[in-house]
Amino acid sequence: MVSMNNVEAVRSALDQALKSDKSVVVLGEDVGVNGGVFRATDGLQKKYGKDRVIDTPLSEEGIVGMAIGLAVTGVKPVAEIQFSGFLPAAFDQIFSHAARIRSRSRGRFTCPMVIRAPAGGGIRALELHCEMPEALFAHIPGIKVVCPSTPYDTKGLLLAAIKDPDPVIFLEPMRIYRAVKQDVPEKEYTIPLGKANVIKEGTDITIITWGSMVKYTLDAVAGLDDVDAEVIDLRTIYPFDTEAIIKSVGKTGRAVVVHEAPKTSGFGAEIVATINEKALDSLDAPVLRVTGYDTALPFARLEMQFIPSKERIIKAINEVMDY
């Protein structure tokens, strides 16, 4: 066991993957000599060489397009998009191709690749460095979307994503890149995609969240004396763990979903709909969402007015409890 933060867990997973699978390559802008703008790939080019940890020209559409070609023919690309705000440039390649190659070729060709991208707000960064685009990608049939919150999960989920037979978008919440440390095994291990984690058990209400909101939700519920909340860290956005959600809601009868992205068509909507479809009878109150708004994410000075605050989370919990 080594104590690691989330960035170190990413690096440890990549190191492991590069070591144990010769077909793995890491590619992206500034990932080689510089070791990544967040240092997620620091030292890896030195260790594995320029053909396996590759500095590319500045083109997200290029990086992802090439990665598809690499993946289909037997290289295992782990592409880094420097910030999730620059994923849209690669959207065509992800939506039109990565997601459909298996289907289009009737299984003859597949596209096992990982696209990593630092995501989310709360770090006072420049415009388009702070978005949480999980719902945009979860809406593409054929794409898996992962968003870890702890170092242990980060490493295990990233290794699982690299081994996965299909394309995975791996969103790394920047706000908690260095905010938490945890003992993480040095050896290789995986955490299955599609499995949520009940990060805090409770009996009164289920809070479903992911990414950096996990930490801030835990902080919020820790301050509640009279409510015993259960917190589910979804970990994988798609495929998501319906069973874990239904089981928990079956127990508590109440639920709140918390996410950073805008409310309308956010992934919270999918979860609420699923609860309605599968657990309506267990509900004692409507399920509420605490989310960002349907606006552009404000620049640094007003950013925290947009991202769900502790106060907003508590308010929603109380509203559901008092229903």
Binding site: N34, V37, P57, L58, A89, D294, T295, R312
Partner: protein, 354 residues
């Protein structure tokens, strides 16, 4: 069977001022002494603004900042060829160009302080807001120039981007449209040799950026980007041509990013001190000073005065920035649509009460 050469192309390079500050009089653009002083004063103002922004970032008085240092001639020289009604499409490193284009300095500090209001262009000049995703502004500039043709106006667009941006699809599609529709757009590539840690040679295997114009039927030229006269001359000729209906131009300014990529970057991780020292000798401000001294346009007293004035302006503008009224949180909702849709209205009500 026929096998023959069907095209031969040349790429021009332009330098007017050498590193010692000697001008080639035959190439010298038409500029009065007063205008040369204005260019110099603008560059000093940009550098003073830039140094201050850097130190304010270190003190936590603004957020992340991307320095102009070393690229003043490319920016100030380019926009000097524009009229106010022309359109400027800046990138995140274009603070120098924006300042020289009448963007109030305190608004620039406000922007770097993390406030949208800093991006608002004054009414009397057409400065588009800064683009953060690399290269995405290039098609907009071509589109705006196209509009100038379609609407029968005589407005020219000028867009800045780095050599890293020339790897993006946006650059190529913009160049292509610019060529096909012969729009009055000037595409200025500030080739500062580095895209964060990635050297120019990893962006493209072609010898120059300028030659990329050839493939799109767009005039391309490489200029010494630390020579303000070369920059101004090339851009001015391109602007005049564009306004006269002679189509677009790609101008590659050979320059250098003297500072780190941004205030979050440490360039020592990927480039040698020696290279930086070599380029520092080609400093655009130093070079113009040498020229002006020879031409008796600058003496120590004048130089001191210009610097003092710049510092005074910067201090005044910093104060204005720091005393600027706090942003209204309700503004978050006000600019999403002309009229708030029902869903947004509901969220706004909740937000106001929350």
């Amino acid at each position: 069977m026929v096998k023959k050469v069907i095209g031969k192309f040349e790429v021009e390079y332009l330098q007017v001022l050498d590193e010692e500050g000697n001008a080639d009089e035959a190439l010298m653009p038409k500029l009065t002494g007063r205008q040369i002083k204005e260019l110099y004063e603008n560059m000093i103002l940009v550098r003073t603004f830039d140094d201050k922004a850097f130190s304010m970032q270190r003190q936590g008085r603004i957020g992340s900042y991307l320095q102009v240092k070393g690229q003043e001639a490319a920016q100030v020289g380019s926009v000097y060829a524009l009229q106010d009604k022309d359109w400027l499409f800046p990138m995140y490193r274009s603070s120098g160009a924006l300042l020289a284009r009448k963007q109030p300095m305190h608004l620039l500090y406000l922007y770097w302080g993390g406030d949208e209001r800093g991006l608002k262009s004054p009414e009397n000049v057409n400065n588009f807001p800064i683009a953060i995703p690399v290269g995405t502004q290039i098609p907009h500039a071509v589109g705006a120039a196209w509009a100038s043709n379609l609407l029968g106006k005589k407005e020219v667009s000028l867009v800045f981007f780095g050599e890293g941006a020339t790897s993006k699809a946006d650059f190529h599609t913009a160049m292509n449209f610019a060529g096909v529709y012969q729009v009055p757009c000037i595409l200025v590539c500030e080739n500062n040799q580095w895209a964060i840690s990635v050297p120019r040679k990893i962006q493209t295997h072609s010898e120059t950026i300028a030659q990329k114009g050839i493939a799109y039927g767009v005039k391309g030229i490489q200029v010494d980007g630390n020579d303000i006269f070369a920059v101004y001359k090339a851009v001015k000729e391109a602007v005049d041509d564009a306004r006269a209906g002679k189509g677009p131009a790609l101008i590659e300014c050979m320059t250098y990013r003297i500072g780190d990529h941004s205030t979050s970057d440490d360039a020592k991780k990927y480039r040698g001190e020696k290279e930086v020292e070599e380029w520092a000798k080609k400093d655009p401000v130093l070079r113009l000073e040498r020229y002006m001294k020879k031409k008796k346009l600058l003496d120590e007293a004048y130089k001191k005065k210009v610097l003092e004035n710049a510092k005074e302006t910067v201090e005044k503008e910093v104060k204005k920035y720091e005393e600027y009224p706090a942003p209204d949180r309700e503004d978050i909702f006000k600019y999403t649509f002309a009229e708030m849709p029902q869903q947004l209205k509901e969220q706004f009500e909740e937000f106001k009460n929350g």
